[in-house]
């Protein structure tokens, strides 16, 4: 069977499964809609969190980006996994014990203030919308490349699917579809990785293959070979990278803290029955994520070596079929600058003749390694699973923020559970349409902003939640001013250095040599300082709030999650 037919079959089958699950697990109450009734098992929640977390960016782009960044790719690998340690140890158990539906719920109650709640809602919406637009785009890209439909049609198909199970099933539907999506995406990522690892090093475990000798009998280590090839072409050594140490440090920290502050991840820990389960599912989630995240750097190294060996200084006319296929999409371009008919792939911009998009590395990897057609098709289904699961999780946060945090808590507290459920469904539908619109008409800044969503989460939520749990005396004045100053500071730096506002500036103007991606670290520290200073000049929180804090610190009594 051709790649095309295989892709149709695999995508159709996986979509049918998602829809089937959605119908089976529709939500009947707001509690089911927001937190799946609080009855999800830690294992299911771990898988769902992993799928929720691993977006199109993790699945499609990350390995490709790392293969061009070399060592520097560690910022993503450590940044997007280390945050789970913070989540498991500092946030998840306590927020579960607190036992409400959303992050703004916690901020609003802990800081006994409608202002605090509103600020939290706005931060949650800002973070989630920037993130979700990128996912819808990812869905469109996969559709257009593998099913050869128009990119916009792809976005619309994706919208309809997400709309169906997010609106119908709420958190309950999303949780169980995410479990299925995790299985699809991890299988789709591992199969080609294992094939390629065997091909290149003879070792079936990609994590070990990366440090193994090449299978060509030369006895050379793969990474030594790759370092040699990179230097020959004028690139930095693969295991060295080019970023400054302070920037690598800052980006890694911003991503870790941002991960721990992302509302769509935190809310997953409200869905399990007990505090104990919240801890356990954080551990399982990281385990499931780590399977992909330790394989990705191996895929990067394999793909990079493969690519250089296939194209560098070879005749253009002898290029394999995948080369011309991807040339047609415009993601791979060759200009024969010195007219010798050979491909010069070099670090030097003047002499380099080949431009390669990051995303190709994972998507084309099976073709480059000449793997069977069904493996190529599997990657398409995996990419869709990754994009859809994250989009659904984010849409739920948006709809909960609107229906629960804004309308129920602030505008119309006396409405019935049934009305609230319909409002939640309505706002989920609206959010899908808005996200779809941005997927079809991506504002130029989407790609830039997705990476920065972490900085925004780090600069706003993380300090407020941590202080709320670990510092009993923290009051509303401190927390609110910290959040506002933190997020504005982050937005300012982002706009200045990403969009050339407020006078703009280039890399040489960065403060302390820290890029906008890493600035979340600085903004978070500023948030902490402002919060603590303001707190010391303002009255301490009321006794009943201090009691809430004491209560969330101990796990007992969280079993009654059903009684909210």
């Amino acid at each position: 069977m051709s790649v095309q037919i295989w892709t149709y079959v695999l995508v159709a089958v996986s979509f049918a499964i998602y829809i089937g699950i959605a119908i089976w697990s529709r939500a009947g109450s707001t509690k089911e809609f927001y937190v799946a009734g609080g009855g999800v098992s830690p294992l299911a929640n771990g898988m769902a969190t992993a799928a929720d977390w691993m977006s199109a960016a993790s699945f499609i782009s990350m390995a490709g980006i790392i293969s061009f960044m070399g060592y520097d790719g560690a910022v993503y690998l450590m940044g997007w996994t280390g945050g789970y340690v913070l989540l498991a140890l500092l946030l998840a158990p306590y927020l579960r014990k607190f036992g409400k539906f959303t992050v703004p719920d916690f901020i609003g109650d802990r800081y006994y203030s409608a202002t605090a709640r509103t600020v939290a809602v706005l931060c949650a919406l800002l973070v989630s919308f920037t993130y979700v637009a990128g996912q819808m785009r990812g869905v469109g890209v996969v559709f257009s490349r593998f099913l050869e439909v128009d990119i916009n049609t792809g976005v619309v198909i994706g919208m309809v699917i997400v709309l169906f199970y997010a609106v119908l099933g709420g958190m309950k539907g999303i949780t169980y579809t995410q479990v299925a999506q995790y299985c699809v995406l991890i299988f789709a990522f591992m199969v080609p990785a294992i094939f390629i690892s065997i091909q290149m090093t003879g070792n079936p475990v990609p994590q070990l293959g990366m440090g193994d000798t090449l299978a060509d009998g030369s006895g050379t280590y793969l990474l030594d070979k790759l370092n040699g090839l990179s230097e020959e072409l004028g690139f930095a050594k693969y295991t060295d990278g080019t970023k400054s140490m302070i920037d690598v440090f800052a980006i890694t920290l911003a991503l870790m803290v941002g991960t721990a502050g992302l509302p769509h991840v935190i809310v997953r820990f409200f869905t399990v029955p007990k505090v104990k389960d919240a801890r356990k599912s954080a551990g399982l989630a990281l385990l499931f994520i780590a399977i992909l995240y330790t394989t990705a750097p191996a895929v990067s190294a394999f793909a990079r070596t493969n690519l250089i060996e296939t194209v560098s200084d070879r005749e253009y006319t002898e290029m394999p079929e995948w080369f011309t296929n991807w040339e047609a999409t415009g993601l791979l371009t060759f200009t024969d600058k010195n007219a010798d008919g050979r491909i010069q792939y070099l670090a030097d911009e003047q002499a380099n003749e080949l431009q390669i998009d990051n995303d190709i590395m994972v998507l084309a990897n099976p073709e480059i390694a000449r793997l069977p057609n069904w493996v190529v098709a599997l990657v398409a289904a995996g990419g869709l699973a990754a994009a859809l699961s994250t989009a659904a999780g984010l849409l739920l946060v948006i709809s909960t923020s609107v229906a629960h945090d804004l309308i129920k808590k602030q505008i119309k507290p006396d409405m019935s559970d049934k009305t609230e459920l319909w409002i939640a469904r309505g706002s989920a539908a609206l959010a899908v349409i808005v996200a779809g619109y941005f997927g079809i008409n991506p504002p130029g800044f989407v790609a830039a902003v997705v990476a920065l969503a972490f900085g925004l989460a780090a600069a706003s939520f993380f300090p407020a939640i941590i202080l709320g749990i670990f510092y009993k005396r923290m009051n509303k004045e401190g927390a609110v001013s910290g959040m506002i100053v933190g997020i504005l500071f982050m937005l300012f730096y982002m706009m200045k250095f990403k969009f050339a506002m407020f006078g703009g500036g280039g890399e040489e103007d960065w403060w302390f040599g820290i890029s906008p991606e890493g600035f979340g670290m600085v903004a978070m520290i500023v948030n902490f300082i402002v919060a603590l200073v303001v707190n010391s000049f303002t009255p301490e929180p009321p006794a009943e709030v201090q009691e809430i804090v004491e209560n969330i610190r101990i796990p007992g009594g969280a079993g009654d999650a059903v009684s909210h």
């Binding site: 140490m245 995240y293 330790t294 610190r553």
Partner: protein
């Protein structure tokens, strides 16, 4: 022990665990993977330079282990203070 004393003692032990585990978290990622990476790269394990390995593989394994150790410690602590019911 009153319930208040019990809660305070539990919290203290919990904080102690957090400090130890988070120090390890910091050392493997920011220490071995970033700040001391060049130093550790002089050591080779198979085809890996050690600092590079920590940054792209090792730190992640340690993260997973840390959370499971934490789960174990806390389950024991819950039992010790009778919060496991």
């Amino acid at each position: 022990m009153t319930s208040k004393q019990r809660a305070t003692a539990y919290w203290k032990e919990n904080i102690k665990y957090l400090c130890i585990l988070l120090s390890i978290w910091f050392l493997v990622s920011y220490g071995a993977g970033i700040v001391f990476k060049d130093l550790l790269n002089h050591i080779h394990i198979g085809g890996f330079e050690l600092g590079f390995w920590f940054a792209q593989q090792g730190a992640i394994y340690v993260f997973v282990i840390l959370i499971f150790v934490y789960i174990r410690l806390m389950n024991k602590l819950d039992k010790k203070y009778g919060y496991d019911k």
